[in-house]
Symmetry: D2
Subunit: 139 residues, 4 copies
């Protein structure tokens, strides 16, 4: 399997098409079916008690799988999330970035399924795990 | 069943403890085990193609179930989301508020389970459906 | 919306195409987008402690949504489950049938989404809630 | 981390406490937080079109995580499944056993979370992926 978009192409796509969120996410690694994305944790992601909000972690998992799909099929198709099931397992550290390791488990003609494991950078034990399904519209 | 917190008490709690997100959500109705929450859709919630982002809908479902729990158990306990499974079914309208109808299906000693149905205000057909589980720490 | 298959047609389909499980399920009501299915609880569904097994409840939710889809689109298409998220909320009674109220929330061209609420017959409080997605192959 | 129950102890437990399903599952490997379970596919697991039923795969994921938990905490506690989200990704082969690789991602005081990847023995590409949460009652 080859990449349809490499790291630089994905970064350019993110900056251009997702200006609202592009700053929230840093693409660290892209290989076929697998990406690693960093989310620099900022004040706006925090919740009372000094932890990162659930929606922030959801957003990180969602964008990571999305980028993993685009890396394989290119920017033409507009994939949309149809399902996400996420388990929040540990309280993320407020003073560390989040790291998301995402991989595609299936890349079909109409559906793609991936899972995402989220960590507080440098700490053991995933803070969240998510499974996501994307619908891939016909070209 | 009686409410431990009514609408005014929940609004005050939201404004004080969740200043980051309090403006995003308007509590419309509170009855035992059931709440309705409005999310005024703003530029920051939108995505390319003129639709509301998945993380925004996740956040709406999450806060709605959270408020439904607090309404029943009061502000003392710090409930945390442990699981969310969300189906995105239709593209939300970019120019309409989102409305979330949330209800608790179980309110146990350690776990609460609720479901949330999200609509574009005034349009038929839910745009998303979510089931959430919260862990309720011992008092 | 009209039914493509009514109760009698669905029963005949179930008996012919699902002889392994047909005896497990009794179709009680069929209306557009909504079905009610009864599962007579038998020894083989039980678990230690006198409760109905999780896989039995999963099977009930799965077949109920499947029948709700077939009722609308007819027996031609071979719909397959792509995702199920199920919350087990209360211990089912071992000596009562299970009742599943299932409804379709979306019936699209390629995906159908439904939810199912499962009760012990005659008891209040759902024992389980499930959301399911089916993929509908092109005809 | 040490095992509270090894392979032989888990097999004896399964045979004694789950006689209804014990024959369906063969424990292949047990290490801390990780188990591998084989399900010999038989006529009763099949569906039209020569594939293994969804409830059979659900049952395999469920028992695998359950055994992974018991391996760590011993047979005293009666853990119960509270949530399962499962993605069915590929059609399992009808003439091959299913293999489930299950691991615990969190083993807390009241909740355990695990994920399970299910394969048709010898074939590439998981047929299903599941995330499960178990509630662990106080001892």
């Amino acid at each position: 399997m080859n990449l349809a978009m490499d790291k630089a192409a994905l970064e350019a796509f993110l900056a251009r098409d997702f200006p609202q969120v592009g700053d929230d996410f840093v693409l660290e690694e892209v290989t076929p079916m697998v990406v690693r994305v960093r989310m620099p944790v900022a004040e706006r992601h925090l919740r009372p008690g000094g932890t990162v909000s659930g929606p922030s972690m959801f957003a990180l998992a969602d964008v990571s799988i999305y980028l993993a799909i685009l890396a394989m099929i290119g920017p033409k198709a507009l994939a949309v999330t149809t399902n996400c099931s996420i388990d929040f397992m540990r309280k993320p550290a407020a003073d560390r970035d989040l790291i998301c390791d995402a991989r595609l488990l299936k890349l079909g003609r109409v559906l793609a399924v991936g899972d995402a494991m989220i960590f507080s950078d440098g700490l053991e034990g995933a803070v969240a795990r998510a499974g996501l399904t994307y619908s891939i519209p016909p070209t």
